[in-house]
Every structure is written in structure tokens, then in C-alpha cells.
Symmetry: C2
Subunit: 322 residues, 2 copies
């Protein structure tokens, strides 16, 4: 199977009425998009490399899902509405047993968000997946990292740390019962981008970021961009049942510095608490208040009694963390 | 050097007035772009993998140039005006000796086109460069592959085949004098995307494509998309002085099936000949008429006497061509 047959077979789909922003899709030199008037275009790119972002054991269908999900998560963090995406795929050979389920997982998530593949590139090479997502947001309404204010509450959606717990289990450092392992493995392999929540938080949250590198590291980006500090109550970070059954040190490691969560971390003034909870409820999601923004720079992590914890946690860094 | 320091040091630049389409650049979850009213957004993605798209011997500065150039070439083929680009970069380690010149070559070309890096991703992994370019074109005016009409002239910009000749020299199949080798090597490593020509051809050309996989293969995409055929005069394909000094068989191989040319192949009605030449002259480029579009499907390659050549040429296919 050649490159063009591969594109034709797995990545070209009939035009759908559900992708109104795409004027011209796969098959020309460029795709053409038509954002709605008054909208800014939101763009984000993520590359996934085998062994760094996913394990060789991941099912191709889940990999297709995850490659798009981590990009949609960036749109979610900006409060943007997804429009379309491009895919560049390097793989050792054109392997139908990989491509068919990969495309199925990719398009299932694309369909769930009403967006279309707008173009891309396939090439031979070590397995790498590069997706660029395009979304739109009313001009001036994007949620940014730089908007956190002193006195704001810190919020996080869903639960944290399960993806990291799954990685620890894959590495043999944690032993989990079969059902528990499947639950956290699903969290790692099938993250759900919080696109609806991001949109619902426009005009409510003051800042937002998606949790990809770990809570402490990602919060650090918000604090730096907003020129503020924060106090976080470690025991207030939301955990799944499986996580709650782990030793306390493992819970803190996974929730504070786990990575691969793809939940939203955001700030909002205390007077917006009801609005935050209502926005999350409309999206069928739980949100947890886990700290507050302070004028004093830096991040202070405390336990339930307010006692400071000495964190050695940091965000995942692709060159520092081997 | 960690991932975030790397981004800060090499890829974050002060906001410039010259990038008016970028409302928010590197440093948040998404970049925000503001296309002009009435414009469609043109998007294209290309991934470059070591050993497939470039040789390990290429200077990092030239690689930075080429990675962006091949993407801008797709915008050129649509007649779009570049707005911004994203970069996802996988590399074995954060190597300053690579990154500094890579970024210099990348940004020199970006500056030449007045565009800015709007976001991206860096990760550890086998060297791979994935760029997505974003441009804008007045709604309905994009040059497409599907617009060629029976009776149209076939045109090509610049000269063809030098990049392939350089590859043959690297492979030891051709021996070139030092100056000749440097000339064709420069064509291979520093392609110039024909962005100005693409824009000048809006409303003049009926279809366009950029030559990346080889003349015959890329022309095949135009013929298929336009549901027409063509006759091409092999000896009318424009060649450099170095190319003209090669044996006839090598000339035909390189010009008809070379790849990596990044010139524009386009069609226009005979009554537009003066307009085509004038548009090219405004861009300081030569254009050559090399054939015509016919109703009979398929591609007929003929010599200067009109005698049919039996071509074994085809476009480059990343999975069929090992």
C-alpha cells in the first residue's frame, strides 16, 4: 500500500454537514477553513512519540483517541470550540493492522466533537504522531494562563493521578487488582478532553490550563504568567476510588506530579463559586476547589491541617526527565 | 537544558508589529490568530524525518529553513498569504549546537515572509520536525488542484531537478565539479517557496500545485482532481546550467521525477499568457510553458519533435519508494 492509497483508504472521508468550518478538506495543498466572523482562531500542536508519550502496548484505537484528545485538551484550556485538525504521521511501514484501528479511534473522538480532519502528511519513519488542532473563540474571551488574580480560588476538574498510577503499574512499581488496573489504564489511554467545560468557563474563570505535565508544574506556568503565588491543599486534590486506596506518598506523587491528566486547572473569584459549580454540572463533571491564589510568589503545598509539605514534585520535562 | 528553558531560549521572540495576524503567540495552551475579515484560512502540515526528507549531513541552519520552506510552498500553491506557523520538534537530546543554528535558519525564512512562530511542542525522540503553516486567502480565490481546463497551458516556475541531482551526487551515482555540486546542493537544502508567485497567480491561474514529489507525480494529482489529461514536452522543462550539462537520461529522470523542487506547477488559459509572464516578472521569477491540458485522460510525455517517450517516472511515495 502506497502513501496516497493509504491516505485515500484511512483518512479521506465524505464531507459532512457537521463540519461547517471546513471549506475544503483533505486532498489539496492546503485545507481551507472559514472561522465565523468575530472569532479568533485558536491553534495548538502536540507531537506524540512512542516510548515518551505512549507505551508500545497501547491499542492503536486508543492511541488514535489519545493523540487527538491531548490536542483538544489545549483548546479546552482556552475555552475554544474545536473546528478541525491536521495529522502528520510517521510510521515504520504502512501497516493496516495499525492504521485501521488508529483511524477508528481518531475519528470516533473527532465525531464526538463534530470536527473533521482537514489535511496532513504521512511518511515513513519512527512512529510519531503530530496533530495540530484549530478552534475558534470569540475575540477577547479566550481563557489564558495569565489571568489569575490574588484571592481567586484554584479549581480542578475530574480526578487526578490515575494516568500516573497506571504508568507506575506498567513499570512494576505498584501492584493493582485487575479491575483497578483496567480503570487507571483507561484513564491513561483514553483521556477525555474537557472541551465543554472550557467553553462553559468563559466569562467565569479568570485563567485556565490543561494538566498534561503534572499539577505542580502546570500550576507553575499559571503562577508565572499571572505573576502571583498560590497555596494548595494536597489532600483536597480529587482522587478516584482506586487512587484513594493507595499509600499516602503514592497518592501525593500521582496527584501533584503525575502528568497526563488532561483535566482543567483554573482560577475564579470566590463570588463565582456557584457559577463554576453550575457550569461544571451542565457538562456532567465534578470540579474541586483545592487552593487559592496569593500575592506571595511561589507555590505552598499544605496538608489538611495547613502544615506545609516539602515538595520534591515538579512537572514533567521531556529533556530533564529521562 | 530542560524543555521549557529550551523553548524560552530558542523559540520565544518578542512580539513584532510585522505579525499582525497573531493575537497571542508562544506560551499559552493555544496561540490565537485573527484572520482578516472575508478571508478563508489555509492550513497545511508537513513532517520531516531524518533519512527520508533530509540527510544527516545537512547544516542545521539549512534544515530550519527547509522545514518551514516546504510548508510555505503549500501555501504558495494555494495563493495564500502566510500568517503564522507552529513547530513540533522531536530530537534525541536538547543540543545547543543544533538548536541555535536550526532556529536561526527557521526564523530567517519566517522573517522574510513576515510571519511568526505561534506555538508548538518539543519532545525527546528520533529527530522529526513537524510544521503547520497557517495562511489566509480571500474567500473563493484559493488556487486548487481541481481547476485545470481542457486547452489550458501547463506552466512551471524556476528550474527543475537540481535537488534530485544533488541527491544522486550524495549517493555517488553522479560526479559533479565542486561549484556545480554546491549549486545543486543549495537547491536541495535551501528551497525558496514561491509565495509571491502564488499570490500573483490568483485570478490568473486555473489550478496550481507545488512540486514536492516530482513533476509527473504531482501533475498526476492535478489531472486526477481536474478530471483531464495532459501532454508535456520533456525538453521544455526548465533546467539549470548544471542540469543542462548532464546526460539526457539523467536530465529527464531529475526534471520529470526528481522531487523536492518546490516550484509551482500551474495551468492557465492561452489568453492569459501575457498575464502569467507579467505576474512572474513582478516576482523576479522565470516561468516556462511546458505542455497543455487535454480532454483525453492520462499523461503523454513527448520529446521536442512530438515523439512519445515511454516514461517509467512516477512521483515519490514515502511507502512505495524505500
Amino acid at each position: 500500500m502506497g502513501e496516497f492509497e493509504l491516505i485515500e483508504r484511512y483518512f479521506r472521508r465524505p464531507r459532512r454537514a457537521a463540519a461547517p468550518g471546513v471549506a475544503l478538506g483533505v486532498g489539496d495543498d492546503c485545507a481551507l477553513l472559514a472561522p465565523s466572523p468575530g472569532m479568533q482562531l485558536a491553534v495548538s500542536t502536540d507531537m506524540l512519540v512512542e516510548g515518551r508519550h505512549f507505551l508500545p502496548t497501547v491499542a492503536p484505537e486508543r492511541l488514535g483517541h489519545k493523540a487527538l484528545a491531548v490536542n483538544l485538551s489545549d483548546l479546552a484550556a482556552c475555552g475554544a470550540e474545536p473546528l478541525a485538525f491536521t495529522l502528520a504521521l510517521a510510521m515504520p511501514r504502512a501497516d493496516e493492522a495499525f492504521l485501521a484501528p488508529f483511524a477508528a479511534g481518531l475519528f470516533a473522538l473527532a465525531d464526538a466533537h463534530g470536527i473533521e480532519l482537514a489535511g496532513g502528511d504521512t511518511t515513513a519513519g519512527p512512529l510519531a504522531i503530530c496533530i495540530t488542532v484549530l478552534g475558534q473563540v470569540p475575540a477577547g474571551q479566550a481563557l489564558l494562563r495569565s489571568g489569575a488574580h490574588v484571592g481567586d480560588d484554584l479549581w480542578v476538574s475530574g480526578t487526578l493521578g490515575d494516568a500516573r498510577l497506571a504508568l507506575e503499574a506498567f513499570r512494576g512499581r505498584v501492584k493493582l487488582a485487575g479491575g483497578d488496573f483496567e480503570a487507571v489504564r483507561t484513564a491513561m489511554e483514553l483521556p477525555q478532553p474537557r472541551v465543554a467545560l472550557g467553553r462553559a468557563l468563559r466569562g467565569v474563570a479568570t485563567s485556565a490550563i490543561d494538566l498534561s505535565d503534572g499539577f505542580v508544574g502546570d500550576l507553575g506556568h499559571v503562577l508565572a504568567a499571572s505573576a502571583v503565588g498560590a497555596v494548595v491543599e494536597a489532600d483536597a486534590l480529587p482522587r478516584s476510588e482506586v487512587m484513594s486506596g493507595q499509600p499516602a506518598a503514592m497518592q501525593r506523587q500521582c496527584t501533584l506530579a503525575g502528568g497526563d491528566d488532561y483535566e482543567l486547572l483554573f482560577t475564579a473569584p470566590p463570588m463565582a463559586r456557584d457559577a463554576v459549580v453550575a457550569a461544571a454540572a451542565r457538562c456532567g463533571l465534578a470540579v474541586s476547589r483545592c487552593g487559592r491564589i496569593e500575592a506571595e510568589r511561589g507555590l505552598r503545598v499544605v496538608d489538611a491541617g495547613g502544615r506545609p509539605l516539602q515538595p520534591a514534585w515538579r512537572g514533567f520535562d521531556h529533556f530533564a526527565n529521562a
